[in-house]
Symmetry: C2
Amino acid sequence: MAVHSSNIIQDQIDQLLQWLSGFGKTEDGGVTRLLYDESWQQAQEAVKGKMGAMGLEARYDTVGNVFGRFEGTEKTDKVVMAGSHIDSVVNGGIYDGAYGVAAAMLAVERLKQAYGRPKQSIEVVSFCEEEGSRFPVTFWGSGHITGRLAEGESETLKDTDGISIGQAMRACEFEAPASLPLKREDIDSFIELHVEQGGTLEKTNASVGVVSDIVGQRRYHITVEGESNHAGTTPMPERKDAVVLSSELITNITAMARRKDESMVATIGKMEITPNVPNVIASKVVFSLDVRHHSKALLEEFEQELENLYAVQAEQCSMNVSSNCWMEVEPVPMSRAVYETMHKAAESLQIPSQLMISGAGHDAQVMGSYYPTALLFVPSEAGVSHSPKEYTKSSDLEQGVKVLEETLFRLAY
Amino acid sequence: MAVHSSNIIQDQIDQLLQWLSGFGKTEDGGVTRLLYDESWQQAQEAVKGKMGAMGLEARYDTVGNVFGRFEGTEKTDKVVMAGSHIDSVVNGGIYDGAYGVAAAMLAVERLKQAYGRPKQSIEVVSFCEEEGSRFPVTFWGSGHITGRLAEGESETLKDTDGISIGQAMRACEFEAPASLPLKREDIDSFIELHVEQGGTLEKTNASVGVVSDIVGQRRYHITVEGESNHAGTTPMPERKDAVVLSSELITNITAMARRKDESMVATIGKMEITPNVPNVIASKVVFSLDVRHHSKALLEEFEQELENLYAVQAEQCSMNVSSNCWMEVEPVPMSRAVYETMHKAAESLQIPSQLMISGAGHDAQVMGSYYPTALLFVPSEAGVSHSPKEYTKSSDLEQGVKVLEETLFRLAY
């Protein structure tokens, strides 16, 4: 391959991101693009236009994903796909999702200029939705092309104004849910480039992170039931204090997670106390628990240990502890063949890379359950994400584009 | 003294309580009488009327406390006072406060019938307010006659509709705040009879509890400041999780309280988590801490130990913990002379009594800081209070009336 001029790529990717951030720009420099809203429509339409201008064959699918196809000379029945999502959280950063779309466009444009048509067809994808910011569903875009969405879902899932996804789709002239197509069978591999949204790369000084696994997640509601009583007249040994037992459980749960495995994380982010009054002993606490790891076996083992913990501690206090797992997402390994290609691409460019686990979900998680998939990270300054303060240095953005370009070259040319 | 007929007293006290519960009765059998509201006015006016019908000299003071005076034959410059408060919490029980007022009326009526006028003047008091249910102030009644209320307070303290105490007073034809009198100097002793609102007497099978001390209370807001971060991408050792540190603190605080003294209580009843989202590490937790004990020295010692705990644990986690004591009520010892008279009264009646600490505040707490004061408890079924389910057996109500009557006899006849 040709030697890249650093400044050109940095300028190009910066320009593309600034251009995209103009759609749905917020007062403090972030973006708000919610599925099927006006800013989203403008952004997705602009991406489609830009793909067309690049000479790609650009089209919407029925739900509003945009694909820009660069037809291969030899193998056209299966495509190499690269991209990410165009939607954002409310007042999110300008890199999350958008970087993956912009980088894929830029990489393909550069390959086209340098080498012309590939042997295998390439598609750049701008998924319509990943964040779950407007409707109570995530991965609406990748879920659609993998055929994993249930029919009729689009009529039952509603935003806070009571508008269903189906209604919102039709208002944008996309199709009604009954027409949802089955899984796309023509995808050979999928590559996503994304900002890390964590602090691992920043600490290790690697420019890019090659993801081997995306963690599985289990989310629980833990309910601790005690007995409400007067804070002044109930002696300590006679209390059934739901806050005290919850506190002991939280201390033990997080200590157990740390002991279990160094890459296991357990988070209690939400607590609801009843009655939540300073001078009344709490009768009930419901707290959330979010556990993540890339080994399903370890998640199952940990769940069993948690159940034992609840049983033992509840009995000690003559109280009741119950646990409800309301969300279970399986860990998804990335394709070893694809991510090793990616790793070699980085090596050949002398870009320091690191093999890592992704603790967050991405389109690559859904795609990875159906197609050979790889996920590449660039550093996030201070790990900040879902915020206008989200930032990645131009030099890091450039390294990501270069590794993606080289990987696509190795896969499709 | 004459031998009492049990059934008569039980019937009389039951009737008085039923009659009082008619003012502000709620659907589920409780009462709501808030300072200066209509039900309160009707109840206080009815009490005044009943006192008059009993032959007592009944009057309001400027803020709406009602006194029924039974003039002594010898010592009339200082009175023996007995009673409690007429107001309630929202949908409270029919015993809290009302029992002390009704029992004092009944005891004095029975003494009058049996022995005529006392040597020393007796006053039955129905304090206008103790609960703090309408305005952000407690002990408005006893606070008034002890002269501890600040002038002007009645214009700044407002209910949730924005009505000041002063406005509400004037609407009931009580006087404006500038006319608040100084402390009443003519009170020789004060005796309050109250339901326990706890489970101590029920467990020990004593019919009455003679209170030696009312606990002091310190209430704190503890603020734990960590760092908000992604629940998936932040490794456990790098977290500054405000929920985890708060849980450790709560476990330690309650364990420390149990070790400190068997009658110390520490309650964390309220927690506010920021941002309180399942998949975000909490950046901040503010929790309440209510500590009670009857020794001021022990409360001070414990506060110092808490400060040390916060400092050590905050440093270990590189986080910040700060504590704000927003309420400090000193412990109040009851008058040994008066409560020993009360204890002997119970003994002479062969009523099993128990010396105990009050973990809750009462009018006796305010009065006890200014006048020799005693507080007598009768059992509360299952310790339930501030609820329509509050209940005390008639036979226990009777024992309380008998001890109060005998005590007043010993003090004033």
